[in-house]
Symmetry: C2
Subunit: 276 residues, 2 copies
């Protein structure tokens, strides 16, 4: 088995590439997995994208992303749930086993964090059976607490597991992303618990570097550049018996300015150095 057998590239890591370029690049580099975001899939056309990926022999490891269903206002809420059903349909069409869910944050000066978190649970209850019928697992992604107000009110692995538990594990699982959870005081115990519950739906990797840029979104580190013990966390994941893909999802402004093929070659090299 190739040492790249578990590697998957998330389209945000090389956002300067179109879907076609990313597919060709992955094939050239011997990368077997790919995780597109919805925007490039929709731009290319979902059915055509499904064909492109299948013909290239690539495995889709996840579709990113659904979620953003914390709004309390009924019309907004209905729109969000409808959009999530479309995202589930797209995941099914692409033969993606997983749809990543980022919950959404709070409205302007909204201080009702508990209310927003309750609405996340309600949204999952509405969407889980729909996803189950289409053989797509909804993967709750806890985002780093610095995104709590503007992107994701789900902040820890424990909280994500608590949200997932009421549903069959084929329908709802959890994303373990090293960028978001590396700081958790009891990370190993949390990963053990997730694994024992059969709830690890996806493993994503990026490194943590500082200083954080304005807005903090595009400041993730290339593998090996920062403070995350990537191999150690991969081993925690493996120890649970989970042997799924390792998806590289790095939001980094500088990496997006460089030549795509160069970035991909660097990711592959870093993956070998820090994760295999």
């Amino acid at each position: 088995m190739s040492d790249l057998a578990r590697l998957s590239i998330n389209s945000e890591t090389i956002k300067q590439w179109s879907l076609e370029e990313l597919v060709a690049g992955c094939v050239d580099a011997g990368v077997p997995g790919i995780a597109p975001w919805r925007e490039p899939v929709e731009a290319y056309g979902p059915a055509k994208a499904a064909r492109l990926l299948r013909d290239a022999g690539l495995t889709v490891t996840s579709l990113c992303r659904g979620g953003f269903y914390t709004a309390a206002e009924p019309t907004e809420r209905k729109q969000a749930l409808d959009d999530n059903r479309r995202a589930i349909d797209e995941a099914a069409e692409l033969n993606s086993p997983v749809l990543v869910l980022v919950s959404g944050g709070l409205g302007h000066q909204d201080r009702d964090l508990k209310g927003a978190r309750a609405r996340v649970a309600d949204a999952l209850a509405e969407l889980a059976p729909y996803a189950g019928e289409r053989h797509v697992t909804l993967a709750i992604e806890p985002l780093h607490p610095m995104f709590c107000s503007d992107r994701c009110v789900v902040s820890t692995l424990q909280q994500a597991l608590d949200l997932a538990r009421p549903f069959p594990k084929e329908q709802v699982g959890v994303v373990v992303d090293t960028y978001h959870c590396w700081w958790e005081p009891d990370l190993e115990a949390q990963i053990d618990r997730l694994g024992a519950a059969g709830r690890i739906a996806l493993f994503q990797v990026a490194d943590w570097i500082t200083p954080l840029p304005e807005g903090v979104l595009l400041g993730r580190g290339q593998l090996g550049d920062g403070h995350v013990p990537l191999r150690e966390i991969r081993q925690m994941i493996d120890a649970t018996g989970h042997d799924g893909p390792v998806e590289v999802e790095i939001f980094n402004a500088d990496m997006r300015k460089r030549n795509g093929a160069e970035v991909l070659a660097e990711v592959v090299r870093r993956y070998r150095d820090h994760l295999v």
Copy 2:
């Protein structure tokens, strides 16, 4: 009792003011508490500062800050511990009941978070008896997880409580700062637990606003501008029986550019609107 009876102003909130200006401003505004950082105290001279604060009739609620003792290298570590003993002496001289401790982060590309966290526990064991003899409580401040690598490897209230428990509660407690902990999924339970253990050493307040600025340090919000349910959290603190000061510590670049007296008046107004 004045509705400002519990209010204390941390010197970083109006950093454009010297210690003398801050003291005069607090007296003018009817603010009874003050929490200086070490730099202005050292610039003014600790003994002289103690006299200034006493003569003005102000209560010192904390001295900020000690800590930064995560270095593994023996010389650096000894220097850090010596500096913390000086900080404890300064707190005693100012008649401050509390020395705030920010643990420090990781070295360049250091990935041993567990090791750094273990060194925090060791440092506390070295410093707690020294603080106890001087009637100063060491207050462990968990910082928001976005500071985990560069400022503070202690990230949650639970983690801080676990670090404090081995020591007498007169010697080691915990800072609850709304800016750092507002996102915690089980905040109310954590505050209950801290209170029941008699470990709430200090309550600090600031609001959470976005977008975060580059480096994220100076992006705290004026009270009422953001997403933190300040009064609700104050009520959680009160419900434990803790009735100590409410220290306003806002690191905000724009507030530091304005007229100091104006900023103080605004803080007092916002305190009345969002905390009393």
